[in-house]
Amino acid sequence: MILADVHPVARWFWGLLLASCLIWYGTVTVYVAIRGLLDIRTMLRRLEEVRRQGPA
């Protein structure tokens, strides 16, 4: 393998960055999927209230 030729600092930098991306993205996707649903429910409930009150 040619890995020895690749600058070790660069290899670690990009490797850690990629790992951080995958871990962060995986976690945020699950979290946002749950919290975002609640946000949508709240937003639509408020807009429904506005709609029921009629034009200001």
Partner: protein, 533 residues
């Protein structure tokens, strides 16, 4: 031969498309006013904002240009992602520029400018925002169609049909539900897109191997593949150009700013920025990695990519390395997830962009007409829907006609600069410089728009033969290989940096001139109100 299977992958894609359309159309009943249509009644909270911002700022076109950078420059090509992260986090954390913007309670950036620079500057800002925005977005649809054709192995005859079908699907729910439909479908699209991106990345890593990807980058580009400052085509001017673009885009790119403006308050808007910031490196790293997987794959050869590019009428085959590689590498089932994810990404981007450019046309360009003859909410909604549909038609025709000259990212950066340079300078001056006035603003807008437009025109109108190291003209068949004049003699990075510098200088000189030549009592009627945080 790709592994796309119509019964399996087609069903996955079909179910996803149906779900999106149903959800998008369902929320239209909540749209009763123009404010609901354009900024969702300003009821968006943090996590919906994070999903929407991430989904909007990742389309097939994003995937294509980040992958092209990965294929052409290795890891060094992902530097714009790092500048994006830093810019978005810093601006979200400090509220620089975006806090006064949200606190002003406006629906678009030009609306804020009217308070400081007057009506004409608002109108002119609207014109350059729409010009830059539509030219930028003009290639989205074509890229989406090309990705699907190459990745799924569709017949080329279906390229236009694919593009049109994609556009109609997006236009239907955007026209009906405006920002509300965009937000709710963005949420669904974020989940599907993220699942697809993560799954495909893991599969590429398992199939190709991290070591082989590193070795492929090293073999093709050496140390320059890991360090942009060593790359002859990148260098510090590439990093500086992207830093300027990132800062300006985070401050004033209307589809991004629309999330701050639709947020419940400026604190929510800033939290959306800080919490989404890291996504901006993921959107460069993951597709970039897929393309570096293509570098390691024996089946993806420059000859094959050139043949695909010729078939699709494009000049640069590197654009198609990633979709061609994925078509070969992914098994059936995962192909369906990938295509659904990419469609999700593309639909969320197209819908948001159509809506935000439409909002500027309605709010700022047509604003002076509405002052003379105010519209009812119903008529305003109808106008907005008509404008979004008209933008869709423009995209279809521009996408069919326009051919790229160089890197996709360079094109997007340059067309974005048509307005990013001037709008970011105007916003910063509006919020933080007492001496700024409408002379400076007009000078900045004209200079900021003129330089990139001249650059694009030089590329299109003057073609120069490409020569090899020995000075001989390179031939493609019987025809000499050509490149645009600006790309060869100025370069996209220098033009970008020069535009920002000239725009800032125009703002300063124009404002000073007015402050020196015009007495304050005569100055800018109705345009001197301070807008400060």
């Amino acid at each position: 031969m790709t592994h796309f299977s119509w019964p399996i992958d087609g069903s996955i894609v079909g179910v996803y498309l149906l779900a999106t359309m149903v959800v998008g159309i369902m929320v239209r009943r909540y749209v009763g006013k123009v404010e609901h249509f354009l900024v969702a009644g300003r009821e968006m909270n943090v996590y919906l904002g994070v999903a929407s911002l991430a989904a909007t700022e990742f389309g097939i076109v994003t995937c294509m240009y980040t992958a092209q950078n990965g294929y052409k420059y290795g890891f060094a090509g992902a530097i714009p992602g790092l500048t994006n992260v830093l810019a978005m986090f810093l601006i979200g954390y400090t509220g620089f520029g975006v806090k006064p913007l949200r606190d002003a309670g406006v629906m678009t950036i030009p609306e804020l400018f009217e308070q400081r620079y007057g009506r004409f500057v608002r109108w002119l800002s609207g014109v350059v925002i729409v010009l830059g925005g539509l030219l930028n977005m003009g290639v989205f649809l074509r890229m989406g169609g090309q990705f699907l054709v190459v990745c799924c192995g569709l017949d080329l005859r279906y390229l236009e049909v694919t593009m049109t079908a994609l556009l109609i699907a997006v236009a239907v729910y955007t026209v009906l539900g405006g920002m509300l439909s965009v937000l709710v479908t963005d949420f669904l699209q974020f989940v599907v897109m993220s699942a697809g991106l993560i799954a495909v990345t893991i599969l590429v890593l398992l199939k190709v191997g991290w070591g082989n990807i590193l070795a492929a980058v090293d073999r093709n580009y050496g140390a320059a593949g890991f360090n942009p400052f060593l790359h002859p085509d990148l260098g510090w001017q590439f990093a500086l150009s992207n830093t300027l673009t990132s800062l300006a885009a985070v401050l004033t790119w209307q589809p991004v700013i629309a999330r701050v403006l639709a947020a419940r308050d400026s604190r929510t808007g800033r939290r959306i920025y800080t919490r989404t910031s890291f996504f901006f490196i993921a959107r460069w790293m993951l597709p970039g990695l897929w393309a570096m997987g293509a570098l390691a794959a024996a089946a993806v050869t420059p000859e094959k990519l050139a043949e695909i590019a010729q078939r699709l009428g494009e000049k640069d085959g590197t654009l198609f390395a990633m979709p061609y590689f994925l078509g070969l590498a992914l098994p059936s089932g995962l192909m369906g997830i990938l295509v659904a994810a990419m469609l999700a990404a593309d639909m969320s981007t197209d819908s948001s962009y159509m809506l935000t450019w439409g909002s500027v046309i309605y709010n700022d360009i047509l604003g002076p007409l509405r002052r003379r003859r105010p519209l009812s909410e119903r008529a305003g909604l109808l106008w907005n829907r008509f404008i979004v549909a008209a933008i869709g038609l423009f995209l279809l025709f521009w996408g069919l006609w326009y051919r790229l000259e160089g890197d996709l990212w360079a094109y997007l950066q340059l067309t974005g600069t048509i307005y990013l340079a001037a709008m970011s300078v105007l916003l910063v001056a509006c919020a933080y410089w007492r001496g700024a006035n409408n002379w400076g603003a007009i000078a900045a807008i004209v200079v900021g728009a003129a330089l990139p437009v001249i650059g694009l025109a030089l590329d299109k109108l003057i073609q120069v033969p490409v020569r090899d190291a020995a000075g001989q003209i390179i031939m493609v068949g019987d025809v000499p290989k050509t490149i645009g004049w600006k790309s060869l003699y100025i370069g996209d990075h220098w033009l970008n940096i020069g535009t920002y510098a000239a725009t800032a200088a125009a703002m300063i000189i124009g404002s000073w001139l007015k402050n020196m030549l015009v007495r304050p009592v005569d100055s800018d009627r109705g345009a001197t109100r301070e807008v400060r945080s």
